[in-house]
Amino acid sequence: MAESFSARAGGLMTRSMAPITRLTSRIPIQVRYAIFAVAVIVFPLLIQSNYWTRVGVTVAIYVILGNGLNILAGITGLLDMGFVAFYAIGAYTYAILNSAQLGIHLGFWPSLPICVFVAVIFGVIIGIPSLRVRGDYLAIVTLGFFYIVQRLILNLDVITNGPNGISGVTRPALLGLNIRTPTAYYYFYWIFAAVIFFISVRLLYSRTGRAWAGIRDDEITASSMGVNLPRYRVYSFLTTAAIIGLAGALLAAFQAGVFDKNFSLDELVAVYLIVILGGSGNPAGVVVGAVVYTFLGELLRYFPSLVQWRMAIVSLILLVVIVLLPQGLLRARARKSGTSIDEAIDAAPAGLASVPEGEESTPVVAEAENAGPTYAAQPVGDVLLSVRGLSKSFGGVVAVDDVTFEVREGEILGVIGPNGAGKTTLFNLITGIYKPDRGTVTYRDDDLTGKSPDRVAARGLARTFQNIRVFPQLSVLDNVMAGAHPWLKAGIFRSIARTRAVNQEERVAEAEGIRNLAFFNRAVAERKDDYVTALNYADRRRVEIARAMTLRPDLLLLDEPAAGMNPSEVGQITRQIRELRDSGYTVILVEHQMPVVMNVSDRIIVVNKGQVLAQGTPKEIQSHPEVIAAYLGEQADCEVTPKPSLIKASPLLSLKGVEAGYGPIKVLKGLDIDVYSGEIVTLLGANAAGKSTTIKTIMGNVRAGAGTIEFDGQRIEQWPTGRIVSSGVALVPEGRRVFPLLSVLDNLKMGGYTAKDQAMITRGIDRAFEQFPILHERRDQRAALLSGGEQQMLAIGRALMTEPRLLCLDEPSMGLSPILVRQVFDIIQKINEELGTTIFMVEQNASMALNIAHRGYVLQTGRIVAADEACNLMGDEAIREAYLGG
């Protein structure tokens, strides 16, 4: 089932990419390079025109410029608007060292390294800010830097000769021959261009290139894979500064002069066009971009009336490309790895788990599903990780509160707890993404408290993420190999030189990465050279785990590895987590699917409200009364009797076969829910079961992929949210989501945004203030200053402003103290009774919800597993199972 889905997804990708890839991929890469090289060599001979040869020289300079910018903007994803300053600095340095301006005539070859060096110095100056600012701010800082350099060029007459520029610059010489003719320049500069091209290709497919791409695609993940972010950002700046500084020197030598007009904003846009036109991040694309851009400019010369439109046309093309063809003319292709799967598996050192062929077809599901903790208890070793008194709060909310536990070598420790209990925060504290307020994290004998993620990773702790974080613009194998960063040794220079040692270690990393993929199944290893985005959800999870394994860690921290997987995949991953432990890893596992946790964990700790609630074996935990209470709420007597009289022939809200999800991830798999007028209906289920997605689908914020949603007899599944709200549905969103900077009163008014008339708004405000007098007292305060309970009241009052017939509530009890929880549920019940509002409520606290509801549904991994009257559901085994597993 899983395989057939992945095959379908794969087939779709290949088909849609076929026209581009089929055309070029038949010709081997070396042949393509050779054809281009021959074209470059014969061009001046065929064209026999000094003018066109000079144009060819310009292309060479643009190839160098474009490849320089591509490293910073395309590969590392840092939007530098100041690179033209490096260009100017390289050019002016060359001109000053080789002209009458200061009376120095140093010559071409001695000047070149000086120009590059000076540009690199400025790269350091401008690269340091990149450590502190990102994105738009980096763009503006670098643009400011560019502007300042521009001003200095115009005003520092003594050095730059101001607006007149420097002319009479010495021309280069090679082996005693002066480079003078356009043809000589042409060949001379294309050699430089070729060298820079190959340098950038080698860097792209190296340890450094993967680190850069990691920074571009996902900084936090990159640093969790051991990449020292500041260092690699600065490396990127320096490399770009060096290459562009060189381009500047070449420009000055070619023009035999340098003028402030060479370094305009137009030039900045032109080089961006070159990088983006061909396909950002792709060195070959840059070459295509440089050729197309330059010849486009020449073409315009044949239409004299259009020459003045040049920059308008350039920017229009850039605009059209970025909006309609963001991947450029030459879509970058994923790297083809040199190691085959069989080679990789053969190269496996003894002791590492390798997977026999055809593994993926072995029926493992039933076995794993029913396995239970049947295996012999592993002998547990020394303490590997020790967490003592760890605490962290965010803006007054305590997320992790004095947590202490130990992990011993060779065990699987399950961490469970209700939504918002602090499990992921705990992972983030251990792996250095957050700094703890108090407490220590000790790994073997090392104090890891507050260390940065890359240092934690390098020490041997590898993690995966709850919301899958793969590097979307890298191949599957390059994603996995990103994990090898800490133990690979190649730096920039050795990667460019491709020494034997670098080749050797890259091969080792490739083989290890493929082996780690094949650990899951051969099918995913076979897709090693695809883009990771072509994989389905389950396979991306596998790639994440394989990437973590490639770090060669002792301790694996898996954050919900089974989330979003189908039952057969869940069975597989359950078995594989156990295999991971058997092959020597220690595992900490956060997981909401209780069958998984209960099956594989040697020990479980339960976290609730940031504190450790219980520790023990799976059996002990399943029957632990406090744990059951934490998950289900306190058991209570059933007070509400169903109201059969309310149930009319047709429901107010009706979901039929609703499927929905996010991108490739299907969360709802065919839901049928009916809510009748006047009822309180609750939808129960553990974390990640799809409860919030159900609400968002009803509200029109997530589009239903299949099925129908009817409200009051009308099909609403395609309506925009605004129309759904006006037709009588309102929502109290998860986490309250009041507008923090608006006053209480304005928050209420926003709730009445779709109100039919002013009277309705006035009624709503009066009702809210009557119901919640505290809101009246604080009517002019900003909502951010309210307590959690007050915010919840505000959110309820806000939702009632439009006098909805159906009120949806998403986790109304979350994050509230027990007294407040009771209060909130009382209010909900009162609204139902006094206003007659129909209520559909998603809730984790099953007992409380069932206590006031008439009917309930139980949701498990996107499907309804039980539906009944509330009293019958209370104490139902299906609920306990949905929350705590069998």
Binding site: V314, P326, R737
Partner: protein, 302 residues
């Protein structure tokens, strides 16, 4: 000293009108709208175009105040419509793309507009006849300081506009919806607010302010040219960041501080390095207090 306060106030007014557009768009989309500078410039040219309609034999053919009002209205209309179109065609398709894409798109849009206007105007500056529209005889005399009529108009129009904006943002339903959407886009949509419409209106309002700013800048400097959006735009953005981007009162405060720093710098340090001072301030600011004076730090969500 009084003269310098007047100068700083005038310059600050122009920066403020300009900075608000950056700040509003950033507040709602967290994107730097490079093309805003060109919208401002086009506002200036709209003022020029209207002025030309009423100019015959070096004489105005209508009441100068009426002409200025027409200049402002035309600029606001054209800039508003233009900005809504820019958002729709160049930014909306990229709303869920990687962060780099909308920024490049904005940069390209900026260069495109500047060059279109450049070609139409033959890349030359055009005169704004402040001497006729706001004759010297209208100048104010405060003690021994003379305040030209153009400065008075710049400050007065700005103050009126800012009061209008304040009322719009805090009293009107749409203004509150804009603030709500900037604070929590999804929650706003749950209220039935059409997020796309709010974003369009944000661009509209920001551009209308820029249109006013463009006309006033033309009156103040007595000319408009195709490149005026870039340099001033950088400074306006500096002002927006200085006050805490996304914070509208902050943008006005930032504009006044920047204008004061620049005025003092030009007097006591060097006029030629006036811009260098402004950008140096921007760089230092972004490095050490990127949230600005009134802004909030937003924690990273993992």
């Amino acid at each position: 000293m009084t003269q310098q306060i007047v100068n700083a106030l005038t310059l600050g007014s122009v920066y403020a009108l300009f900075a608000l557009g950056y700040s509003m768009v950033y507040g709602i989309l967290t994107m730097l709208n490079f093309a805003h500078g060109e919208v401002f410039m086009i506002g200036g040219f709209m003022g020029y175009v209207v002025q030309q309609q009423f100019l015959q034999n070096d004489q105005l053919t209508a009441n100068p105040i009426l002409i200025i009002v027409l200049m402002l209205i035309t600029a606001m209309t054209v800039c508003g419509v233009l900005a809504v179109l820019i958002e729709f065609f160049a930014y909306r398709p990229l709303r869920n793309a990687a962060r780099l894409a909308p920024l490049i798109s904005a940069l390209a849009m900026s260069i495109l507009l500047r060059n279109i206007v450049g070609v139409i105007t033959k890349f030359r500056a055009r005169p704004v006849r402040t001497d006729l529209l706001l004759p010297d005889s209208w100048a104010l005399h405060i003690g021994d300081v003379t305040v030209s009529a153009s400065r008075v108009v710049v400050v007065v129009v700005t103050v009126i506009t800012l009061i209008g904006l304040e009322i719009f943002m805090n009293r009107s339903k749409m203004g509150k919806a804009m603030r709500a959407t900037a604070q929590d886009r999804e929650a706003a949509s749950f209220m039935g607010i059409s997020v796309n419409r709010v974003i369009s209106i944000t661009f509209l309002v920001g551009a209308m302010l820029a249109g006013i700013g463009g006309v006033l800048t033309g009156l103040y400097y007595t000319q408009v040219d195709f490149a005026m959006g870039f340099g001033l735009g950088m400074k306006a953005f500096t002002a927006a960041v200085l006050g805490g981007i996304g914070n509208l009162r902050g943008a006005v405060l930032g504009a006044l501080i920047l204008a004061s720093a620049e005025t003092l710098g030009a007097t006591y340090i060097s006029y030629a390095y006036r811009d260098v001072i402004a950008f140096g301030l921007l760089i230092v600011l972004l490095l050490f207090r990127p949230a600005g004076l009134l802004g909030r730090q937003i924690p990273v969500k993992v």
